[in-house]
């Protein structure tokens, strides 16, 4: 075997041809904090990938600031290796990531390098054919983790123009999160951008993870490919997420892009763009993708750090002037493409962490204005035990209702209004002792509605079961049940319904509707089951 390898290496060396030709070069004149100042390279492009030839090998960098006599570049690799006097070469390429089906189930960094010890992601087709014959002869490290062919994989630039108006169509397919409160009151459509905003420890990531897990059980629609982008998160948190997705069998249709807190600001800055590029690959192939940016507050911080080190002028809260454009161009890449372009979609769930519920800070207001709605989570509700701690009054979905299924629309129509009235009455009741029967029943209904919307983490509910649960609460089937028993009783009824009248749930799931006949059968089944 070693003889064969030596022979192949000899052939490679003998066949090596090198024609010296003029190349554009520059010199590192200053370096520090992951930023290099480079003289020369007057023809470098903005965002071009540069190759710094350090004494221990090449280090990648991106041309950020193109000034009159030098370039401000952000070092992507180990900045400690770069020294003053190192030569820098243009590559003629912009930063890109290789995207393909092989990425499914993998954890990668923003440059596409695997972080999960599962081996090489893409086989080099040239290497596999010329140097090592067929793929069967290949060393195990050169095979893809799932054994798929790399032929369909493609390099996708991290920065790419968003689809134009003509390429798009309105959001028309629901993306079910498996969370009753969201799917009923703040519906999300495929291709939408829905912000998840709230203080720390209010369940923002939990909503995103539930959404990923739910994609495995949302039948009747195309499988959604989920991309979770962790920006500036703890490695332990990312590891927990990977484990959870594995346990819930959701990793097979998910990809995790991780730029943890320990990674340089440059990688944290690139991470969401890498996630968007991977999502675009699936969208362009006519598939539906969901990308979660967790979180854009840390992304803005990383960009602020880079900008300040590059000596760009600071603006409000020391963020650079183009921070709005940064997030706008990222989120604008989410789209629902028209049928001529394959009908794929890229849905975005950006996450923003607020400080003490202050949504009027710079970054939260920016992202609120860019997105098509927000799910607002409150600490107070969380500590009251209302989980998910969604503030139904401040949460909106501007376009999702057109994608909501008819069945859900029918049952949840009154829900939002009833809850709003309940909250108003609840505040009023604190000062009043005598209440008329009508008010009392409204309060009782509101309490049960609030209770039915409570849900535990990592247990998304299929859409048809959500429809039944909300139907029960809004139509008085739970009015005589004690508030603290609403969850248990409704759970039991739905379980029995699934066992004894599976056809009703199946019909709702398959038709997405609740016609009169189904409603009639549901009514009689619920009455029967409640008696049991």
């Amino acid at each position: 075997m070693s003889y064969e390898i030596i022979e192949k290496l000899k052939k490679e060396i003998a066949g090596f041809k090198h024609d010296a030709e003029f190349e554009h070069v520059g010199l590192v004149t200053e370096v520090g904090d992951g930023i290099a100042k480079i003289s020369g390279l007057s023809k470098a492009l903005s965002q071009e990938l540069l190759d710094v030839e350090s004494h221990v090998g090449d280090v990648a960098a991106i041309a950020f600031n193109l000034e009159e006599s030098f370039i401000g570049a952000v070092i992507l690799g180990d900045a400690q290796k770069v020294k003053v006097g190192d030569r820098v070469k243009q590559t003629g390429k912009v930063v890109s990531i290789k995207a393909g089906q092989e990425l499914l189930g993998r954890v990668v960094d923003p440059l596409g390098n695997p972080l999960d010890n599962k081996g090489v992601i893409f086989i080099d087709p040239v290497r596999s054919k010329t140097s090592f014959g067929t793929s069967a002869d290949m060393p195990s490290a050169s095979r893809t983790s799932n054994g798929t062919s790399p032929e369909n994989s493609k390099d996708y630039p991290l920065e790419r123009r968003a689809p134009d108006v003509v390429s798009r169509e309105s959001v028309n397919t629901p993306l079910h999160t498996g969370i009753k409160a969201v799917d009923a009151m703040i519906p999300i459509g495929r291709g939408q951008r829905e912000l998840i905003i709230g203080d720390r420890q209010t369940g923002k990531t939990a909503i995103a993870l539930d959404t990923i897990i739910n994609q495995g059980q949302d039948g009747g629609r195309r499988q959604v490919i989920c991309i979770y982008v962790a920006i500036g998160q703890k490695n332990s948190k990312v590891a927990k997420i990977v484990k959870l997705l594995e346990e819930k069998d959701a990793l097979k249709y998910s990809i995790i892009v991780s730029a943890p807190a320990s990674s340089p600001a440059s990688l944290q800055y690139l991470a969401p763009f890498a996630g968007a590029a991977i999502g675009e690959y699936f969208m362009d192939n006519g598939q539906d993708a969901l990308v979660i940016y967790d979180d854009l507050s840390k992304h803005a911080d990383a960009y602020r750090q880079l900008s300040l080190l590059l000596r760009r002028p600071p603006g409000r809260e020391a963020y650079p002037g183009d921070i709005f454009y940064l997030h706008a161009r990222l989120l604008e890449r989410s789209a629902k493409l028209n049928k001529e372009l394959g009908g794929g979609s890229l849905t975005a769930l950006p996450i923003i962490e607020t400080q003490l519920g202050d949504v009027s800070a710079y970054i939260p207001t920016n992202v609120i204005s860019i997105t098509d709605g927000q799910i607002y989570l409150e600490s107070d509700l969380f500590y009251k035990g209302l989980r998910p701690a969604i503030n139904a009054g401040l949460s909106v979905s501007r376009v999702g209702s057109s994608a909501q299924t008819k069945a859900m629309k029918k049952v949840s129509g009154k829900l939002r209004l009833d809850l709003a009235q309940f909250r108003e009455l609840q505040a009023f009741v604190q000062f009043a002792s005598d209440l008329d029967e009508n008010t009392k029943s409204q309060i009782a209904r509101g309490q049960r509605l609030t209770e039915i919307l409570k849900q535990v983490d990592n247990d998304p509910i299929p859409f048809e079961k959500q429809v039944v649960a909300i139907y029960m609460a809004t139509n008085g089937y739970l009015d005589d049940v004690k508030v603290e028993e609403v969850q248990t009783v409704s759970g039991k009824i739905i379980d029995n319904l699934a066992k004894l009248h599976e056809d009703i749930l199946k019909k709702i799931r398959e038709t997405n509707q609740m016609d009169e006949e189904t409603e009639g059968r549901l009514k009689s089944s619920l009455s029967e089951l409640k008696g049991v």
């Binding site: 090198h18 010296a20 003029f22 190349e23 070069v25 520059g26 007057s42 006599s69």
Partner: protein, 121 residues
């Protein structure tokens, strides 16, 4: 540096057009002392030199070879125009061969080091 190289070079070349050579040099050295950039005088002088060469239509050429014995200065010098400034340097990192850099921006690298690094990329 207190002021950028470009600013020093531009100021020098503009004053040099209207003032005598001795006065410009004298004044410039005093300025560098005043700004505390006298320790970077070598860099500044080289930048001014480059500017003068470029203004006259010449190029700033750097030639590096791996070993001194391989350096045929006169032969190489004649390959370039009279207006060009040619610097020679021995750089053992190249292993063998030659590397020519024009105006610090364009490079013709025919060194063994470059060939080896390309072979193993």
């Amino acid at each position: 540096m207190r002021y950028s190289l470009n600013n020093y070079v531009s100021a020098f070349s503009q004053v040099a057009k209207t003032t005598s050579r001795e006065q410009v040099v004298d004044g410039f050295v005093k300025l560098l002392k005043k700004t505390g950039d006298i320790k970077h005088s070598q860099k500044v002088i080289e930048a001014i030199h480059k500017k003068i060469v470029n203004e006259k239509g010449g190029k700033w050429i750097n030639i590096e070879v791996a070993r001194g014995s391989a350096l045929k200065k006169e032969k190489l010098r004649h390959k370039f125009s009279e207006k060009d400034h040619v610097d020679f340097k021995i750089n053992s990192e190249l292993v063998a061969g030659i590397r020519i850099t024009v105006n610090g921006e364009e490079e013709l690298n025919n060194s063994l080091q470059n060939k080896l690094s390309k072979l193993f990329k």
